[in-house]
Symmetry: C2
Subunit: 418 residues, 2 copies
């Protein structure tokens, strides 16, 4: 099936907002085995929307449109699409009730412009929005399908799999083949290194499409098999997955929707172990990630972000002379921080990160990106040294990832190599 993507919004053509929806949708469609013919972005302008739809539909079986479904005057997508196909508008009472319920539930004051989000082109099929007030809709015109959803990424994340994909499969039987998808998440190898490690695998022979999706600091490998029988596509995926995992080994840390922090949280909770964290260069990011997992209070006792040397000494017991002699960014300090926070919090594990995020603070001996990570369990203290090479934010992100990876490998009983 051929498909096009149209993203609408002055914030896109003015460059004020990075369009992440187009690439999210393109990836989802490619994964289904559909061919994305083109991606277009236009402003909130009636004639531009109409012409773009015409251009895309002349080259595709379907178009998915995002954006311009808000309650304000500059959101004109619904009217523009109705006009493009010469359709009138109607108010969907069920959607209107749903919007009013959301307003009541959260005690928001109702203004009449919000009723606009219950208006649809005649003949449209509503696509429910389980996480917001802007419902989407689909139209079938001359055998082509037009599906329209809001531009809020969080809402698209739900409406695409729950609404849009099933609808496209229903309308285009050739798109309804069984698709098995497996995402393998790796960390620690560059994209080129992943590519090289998998070079000898003959995915074509296995009937598998492979895609590489860098997602800093992770690299995701997506395997897709299309066919008539679920058992058969699943078998092909398993064979390909075994090949990938045997090549990438310890760099693989998760599959499909699992996250690194989610896996760590699950293992700690299952074991009934507790954790305390001492962060320096990551500035709380490790803990922010862990506490994104619901129920993290079951294992996370406390974290200290010891930005000053005084805090490292007072809270964690890192002696001033160690900081003086070896520096706050050193293996010695990292180990003492991990041990210190574990003792302070009386937890099973203590995790510590100290490093230089940049842009300032680097030296020739310890350049920006120098990071030491230590994990202490009261019996032994693992410690690793890293040399990252990114900007401040990315150094924080990749350091938090390395710290969570160390914790995950410890919990699964994998041995760290130095």
């Amino acid at each position: 099936m051929k498909i096009g993507i149209l993203t609408i919004g002055n914030e896109l053509t003015s460059g004020r907002t990075q369009d992440t929806n187009a690439s999210f949708l393109a990836r989802a469609f490619s994964t289904q085995g559909w061919q994305v013919m083109l991606i277009m972005s236009v402003g909130d302008e009636d004639e531009a929307i109409k012409q773009a739809l015409g251009y895309i539909l002349a080259r595709s079986d379907a178009v998915v449109v995002t954006g311009g479904l808000g309650p304000t005057a500059d959101d004109i997508t619904t009217e523009a699409i109705a006009r493009a196909f010469g359709l009138g508008l109607y108010t969907d009472d069920a959607v209107l009730r749903h919007i009013r319920e959301i307003f009541d539930k959260y005690r928001l004051s109702w203004t009449e412009n919000n009723a606009k989000q219950a208006i649809f082109p005649e003949g449209a099929e509503v696509i429910a929005n389980p996480v917001g007030t802007a419902a989407g809709f689909a139209l079938k015109q001359k055998g082509k399908l037009i599906a329209v959803i809001p531009g809020v990424p969080r809402e698209i994340g739900r409406m695409l799999p729950e609404g849009v994909l099933p609808l496209l499969r229903r309308e285009f039987p050739e798109a309804a083949q069984h698709v098995a998808v497996r995402t393998i998440k790796s960390f620690g190898l560059s994209e080129a290194a992943v590519d090289k490690a998998l070079a000898d695998l003959d995915f074509e022979r296995l009937g598998i499409r492979i895609g590489f999706y860098p997602n800093f600091p992770e690299n995701h490998i997506v395997l897709t098999a299309t066919g008539g029988l679920e058992s058969e596509t699943a078998a092909r995926i398993s064979a390909a997955e075994a090949g990938v995992v045997s090549r990438l080994q310890k760099y693989v840390f998760a599959y499909d929707g699992d996250t690194l922090e989610g896996l760590v949280a699950k293992m700690l909770t299952e074991k009934g172990w507790t954790l305390a964290v001492a962060e320096s260069c990551t500035g709380g990011l490790v803990t922010d990630r862990l506490t994104d997992v619901p129920g993290s209070s079951a294992f996370l006792e406390r974290t200290v972000v010891t930005y000053s040397n005084a805090a490292k000494t007072e809270l964690l017991g890192v002696p001033a002379d160690v900081l003086e002699e070896h520096g706050a960014v050193s293996e010695q300090t990292a180990r003492l921080m991990a041990q210190g926070v574990r003792k302070l919090a009386r937890t099973d594990l203590g995790l510590a990160i100290t490093g230089i995020a940049g842009p300032a603070g680097g030296t020739s001996q310890k350049p920006v990106g120098t990071v030491h990570i230590a994990l202490d369990d009261g019996k032994e203290c693992l410690c690793r040294h890293y040399a990252f090479r990114w900007d401040r934010r990315r150094n924080k992100i990749i350091s938090s990832q390395a710290a969570l990876m160390m914790l995950k490998r410890y919990l699964t009983g994998e041995r760290e190599d130095a």
Copy 2:
């Protein structure tokens, strides 16, 4: 001037790579006061490129094309554009020498396919690439300009200001208009409420374009004025800005590229004041944001993420009976946390956040989203209660924003209303 953007590459239509070039170019052109009519992405395919150029040039005075100028077989942009306009190809000897010099300098081994990067459509003007081997080129066809540059962001960063913009200004004298842009960032009002608050302002009469850009949990209002004289566009922007600020008042917290954490960091650094933070439901996010600002170690002494009650008592001195009687999520606890962390760290200010991020942990008395934020300076302790209504991640984000807003208002001497 009307302009279009065409980005070329299979990595874009497959969703493998996020297209950051389109939004970078769109912003640069909008800032010049040029109207970006549309952005399109197509794969490395001859006919798709030809048709896209036709569509864009029918609606624009110029098109800027990126991508597909590499030395490998799948890079076909130059040939496709030459064919689209019925032009032959020629080798530019100066460019060829430049490429060979780069190979010599870095001792790269020369292969014949690299000579491809010195081939251009007949009549093209070369756009120099000071940081790579892929030169760009420009063509004038029927009064329209086609400028083509590589897809590497670092190279575009140089070739846009040094090559493409001067060329467009030379070819389109009307493109030399002055443009003034002002972004006003607000927090605490919904998009609909912002819209309503500004409804009586006649932006058209002021010759101002207005755009709303929700950026959770912030709402951004962008004002744009285009005209001949810098002083005149600036005056119109100022008048419109005054109108917006008088309507939104305390909800406005920053302008243009400034961030909330950046402003707070700047003020703390300028005053020479120090800060310690005690986080509970935000799980380190307030500190993560503050430490994204380079130089934040100047004011941030330490943070404690006291997820357990024991940590609140031991580190912050919150008495167990207060936790028992009022609960960890209470005004009393928030105040004691702020006072406690300030004393612990001996800083000028102590900031504390305690709440229920969800999805579990809520009660009818204290539903999910209940948050208390306190700020203590040793003389007085401000405290506010919030009732947010989002999912876990968003409750964390909006709580961190509210905490930084309280800090910002304190630092600018604004009084919090209860």
